[in-house]
Symmetry: C2
Subunit: 284 residues, 2 copies
């Protein structure tokens, strides 16, 4: 199965991310169905034309009809779904996901699936500080990065299919990482940054500062509006890499603090020059 317009695609979990996938895939001409336990989300998505057909439970016929399924669920819920309904999947179906951690989930899901269904993991590096299908948008992926996360069990065909999905959705750059490399990377660029934003917001009472602050503080704390259920789960599932990144960042802050305390301006300037040089690489 390659990407052909007759494909029946099912989104499992119709929130911000699932809804954004649905919108982008509908626009491309695919038949898109969705399952979400919240009837309001399904009703809204059907009425708005975000999906062709919606379900609040995994109807065997609907699930068995899908050529491709995209799971946009919390990691634990994703695992339970596969355990309970994996047998409904169509032989030859391909499934992928949007899960923010990989090592703890990808191998398990692959082991649980029957042999005629292939799970190729992926991670769209995109998000917003708002939730739900109503806030979804097919613009979410423009200029964002997409990571395909294969294991040794994956076929080259499925890897290429998943890369194709990233390109179809309009991601700026599609890359491939192992689950271990992915979790290392995500511990730094995503999880550590969320910890920092939260820590900056909670380290002192700052509500009175709103009339004085500039854009720096706003930028550093944009992601401090955080879904506590989802992110605490993601943090716990990637505990070792994240702890390592936090320790390395805390040490660096301590080092900068000591440079300031001892009045070592030249050492501080050297750090600032390194920072400036590295950050230039990240300009879009």
């Amino acid at each position: 199965m390659d990407w052909i317009s007759e494909d029946q695609i099912m989104i499992v979990g119709l929130g911000l991310m699932g809804g954004s996938y649905a919108r982008a895939l509908k626009r491309l001409g695919f038949h898109v169905s969705a399952i979400d336990k919240d009837p309001e989300s399904i009703e809204y998505a059907e009425k708005s034309g975000i999906i062709d057909r919606g379900y609040t439970v995994p109807e065997p016929e609907a699930v068995g009809n899908a050529d491709a399924l995209i799971f946009a669920l919390y990691p634990g819920v994703f695992r339970e779904w596969i355990r309970e309904y994996g047998n409904l999947l169509k032989p030859g179906a391909r499934i992928t996901d949007v899960t923010g951690v990989k090592k703890c989930i990808v191998y398990d899901i692959q082991d649980m699936l029957k042999d005629d269904v292939e799970f190729i993991a992926s991670h769209p590096m995109a998000g917003r500080e708002v939730y739900g299908v109503k806030n979804s948008t097919d613009k979410l992926f423009t200029d964002a990065n997409y990571i395909v996360v294969p294991t040794e069990k994956n076929t080259q065909g499925a890897i290429e299919w998943c890369k194709g999905l990233g390109r179809l959705l309009g991601f700026r750059k599609v890359s491939v990482l192992s689950p271990e490399q992915h979790d290392e990377m995500i511990g730094f660029v995503s999880q550590l940054t969320h910890c920092i934003a939260v820590g900056l917001m909670t380290c002192s009472d700052n509500a009175h500062l709103v009339d004085y602050t500039g854009d720096s503080f706003r930028d550093l704390t944009r992601i401090a509006r955080i879904n506590d259920a989802m992110w605490s789960e993601l943090f716990m599932l990637n505990r070792e890499p994240l702890l390592e990144k936090m320790d390395s960042f805390i040490s660096e802050m301590q080092l900068l603090r000591d440079m300031l305390s001892s009045g070592d301006t030249e050492a501080l300037r050297e750090k600032m020059r390194l920072s400036t040089e590295r950050r230039a690489l990240f300009d879009k």
Copy 2:
């Protein structure tokens, strides 16, 4: 002297900030002159109509003709300028600044000035990661905060005049803080955030992450492109408040780290909920 269109305004230091003031004041119809030691900046600004008249040295006649002067210099250079040329200022002239630290400079400048000139300090909470008059823009102030920083030496007239300047320039909100309150505040919302951005950029080699990163990392490190000469000077001049803020942030990060390490999900979620609640106040 109130704000009247016949006012002769002089900008001292025609970089990003001085240039942005010049553009905004010219648009409002004031006669704007500028001093900058760099002939290219002056030539560019004259040719582009950003200023009416430019000088590369403090010509006594030009300085003595200005009703109001805005100093957009590094703190140390500002102090030297007043020491050397303060006697050229017109009796009755008002001066203000854009300096990012206050306690260490405001009292000194006020003491150095002759009695017939009043310095009322202010701080426009706006900036960009690019430099020089060529990057200046009168849009810099829209939606930004402006802080007037009086001491006991300031007259109510000068305070009102300076607030008026903030409003004329188009700032969203004009506030008043003492030099000590200002430096406390700035240590947190501006200096600590810059330390964090630098620390995140320098704590590990991350150049290879550019193909994977999402917007979180980009947002948190936008200000990691940093003018090392200026910011190291600002940090050193506000060392005590900044050290206190850094210590409080480092402790909080250590606390979050320990919650993660001990698997205390509920404590982490509580921090995330507090963070979310506080951050909502900062939405524009």
